[in-house]
């Protein structure tokens, strides 16, 4: 059904092309998302968010001397690599898109990247693929993402520890993919900064007693204990056992541990502990929510700002490069996304296009306070908090 509708949709679009017969060729953006499969509910507003930016640019009449921009949808599914590759192939070879906003899931993204993007040399920006593996994959400079890698939080934590002069830490993680991935990321980033992880111990959720785990970690020592777990599960037990035995009294708590339930339970016993979780103080998110109101979707749904930013980046890079050729404008993506230049928020794309046309610089902020880091992925915005007097207090944003 999904495929049929996309087919009809693209058929309708191509008729429009013929009928329009404008002097200039349309700019086509492939909206390659997981319309069917496990992400279908997530993707609906994401695609609308991505198309909102496309419409905004098209309506401005400023892109490359007033070219029209259209979105061509394709279904990347989420778990079917073959279907994702076929859909991407069709977008590139048959529809002739100039850039791709997608794909949704990390697996599909990897397949498309290897089979279509590199083979055809087309820029692809994923709004939601967060696997750390995509940071290392060979992409010939054609792949970007506006969502941060899961590994990014590890780097943020390493930076926080480094800044606060904490030289050694013990590390425990909940024994699943999330915990293990995060723990590996923290360890690698912290050791690269010269910090010392004294011991790494997994903990199972759902046990009554964590004194043995704490015994091990305490024996290894460390100034703080990093708990990559869940606040209503083993993570809480770990903290309880360390406070009971006096093993650790300061903790570093990644996103799974940040919540009121923890401070309600332990109160000011956790004072001085540090938390990190995704968050931004940028006004972009609320501006996008306002922009989306009345358009049938919510601008602050998960990955909607990322999708908006992905479309905007593609088009702004084209404007900056003065070309819709992927091989040319791929080198302009980082330039428009990062400083220096005029800060651009959602709804200000026309202004950005004008600045670029006049030869100026822009720093695209968008809905996610976007900052692209090597190798072309979002740095992500994280909030650093510290527990003071039994309350989470925001220290700063990263």
């Amino acid at each position: 059904m999904g495929k049929l509708s996309t087919l009809l949709f693209s058929a309708a679009l191509s008729t429009a092309v013929v009928a329009g017969a404008s002097a200039q060729e349309q700019v086509k953006i492939g909206m390659l998302q997981g319309f069917t499969g496990p992400t279908e509910s997530l993707v609906k507003p994401m695609a609308l968010g991505g198309e909102l930016a496309i419409k905004e640019v098209s309506d401005s009449g400023l892109l490359l001397g007033g070219r029209e921009v259209v979105s061509v949808r394709g279904d990347s599914t989420c778990i079917d690599a073959a279907a994702a590759t076929a859909a991407a192939d069709r977008l590139v070879t048959s529809d002739g898109v100039h850039g791709i906003n997608g794909a949704t899931c990390s697996g599909a993204t990897t397949a498309i990247l290897n089979n279509v993007v590199r083979a055809n040399g087309i820029v692809m920006i994923s709004p939601s693929a967060t696997s750390p593996a995509l940071s290392e994959i060979e992409d010939d400079g054609y792949f970007f993402r506006t969502a941060p890698s899961d590994a990014r939080q590890g780097q943020i934590i390493a930076e926080i520890l480094d800044r606060r002069g904490i030289k050694s830490a013990a590390l425990t993680y909940t024994n699943n993919d999330y915990g293990k991935g995060l723990a590996d990321a923290i360890q690698a980033a912290y050791e690269a900064k010269g910090g010392k992880i004294t011991a790494v111990a997994a903990h199972e959720d759902g046990k009554a007693d964590y004194s043995a785990e704490i015994g091990t970690l305490a024996s290894a020592g460390g100034e703080v204990l990093i708990v990559a777990g869940y606040l209503d599960q083993g993570g809480k037990g770990i903290i309880q056992a360390s406070l009971d035995t006096g093993a650790f009294d300061k903790f570093v708590l990644p996103d799974g541990m940040v919540g009121e339930a923890l401070t309600d339970n332990f109160g000011d016993m956790l004072d001085g502990s540090i938390g990190t979780n995704p968050g931004t103080d940028s006004p972009g998110a609320s501006m996008l929510a306002e922009l989306a109101s009345g358009k049938g979707f919510k601008g602050d749904d998960p990955y909607v700002p990322e999708a908006y930013d992905a479309s905007a980046l593609l088009l702004l890079a084209m404007q900056s490069a003065g070309s819709t050729d992927s091989a040319v404008y791929k080198d302009h993506i980082l330039k428009v996304a990062n400083a220096p230049g005029e800060k651009i928020y959602p709804g200000e794309l026309a202004k950005a296009l004008q600045i670029l046309a006049d030869g100026g610089d822009i720093d695209y902020v968008g809905g996610t306070a976007l900052e692209l880091i090597e190798p072309g992925e979002s740095a992500g915005s994280f909030r650093e908090t510290e527990i003071k007097g039994g309350k989470w207090e925001t220290e700063m944003y990263h």
Partner: protein, 336 residues
Amino acid sequence: MEILNALALFTNFVVVPATAYGAQLALGALGVTLIFGILRFANFAHGELMSFGTMITILVTWFLQNMGVSIAPFPTALLALPIGILAAISMALVMDRMVFRFYRKQRSNPIVFAIVSVGVMFLIAGIIRIVIGPADQSFADGERFIIGAIDSRRALGLDEGIAIKQSQLITVVVTAIVVAWLFWFLQKTRSGKAMRAYSDDEDLALLSGINPERVVMICWIIAAALAAIAGTLYGLDKTYKPFIFLQILLPIFAATILGGIGQPVGAILGAFIVAFSEVTVTYAFKKFLTYLGPTDWAPDGLVQLLSTDYKFAVSFIILVAVLLIRPTGIIRGKVI
């Protein structure tokens, strides 16, 4: 000084937790061993019986807390415990009446009894999950520490502190009282003697006019009371979570078999051996050795025999080793 620090460290992370854990296991193992001695089967429902008694204790504790009743600095749960014990006893007697008595009349094989007890285990587990749910419940109140880690560090003048929780002290004291009473009961009273006689030789006991149903009833009452006490102490010391009472069966059975099945002294001995093995084998001795040796001798590794993930494996190893080498246990008990 360094030696004292090492000892304090070892006490804080091994001796204190293992002693409390051993005492909780001992109460559980005593119940299992009594049932085995009298009724001659391995009661898999014992863990859930502990859980059930604890659950009722928790419910009553909450009620008392709402009423504003408190015996601070002691935990309110101690006040509620007698009702938990009564509930566990009622549950045990009802189960015996409705399930086990039928098989006793049939003179069923011990293996049939063991399987039946697995069924009873699931039944009680289901009741518990319906009543209180599968989640974590915390019901400890009152003073948490006898002495905290930081205070003891100051008092001893050492780098390492010894934290002793009130729940740990209560566990050890209550266990000592209960065990002393149990031995007095088994050695000195008429009912206790009848139980021992019945356990030694059923037919001979029947010939000397001992009422078997009465012995069985007393046995269930004592085992259920021990279960409720053990579960509540475990919950006070750690946390109450219905799921763990299935896991705790393993160390309890290991302790029972290690000590010699049907031997109360053996159960206590076995419980402490299992508890100390679990904690010692999974403890990382790095810091301990660092205190003892010269500064530059500090080991790089953690000096840990087994990762804490394999804590339960210790019970398994003990279980298998005992069954292979000395199936009768330390104090010669029955062989299943």
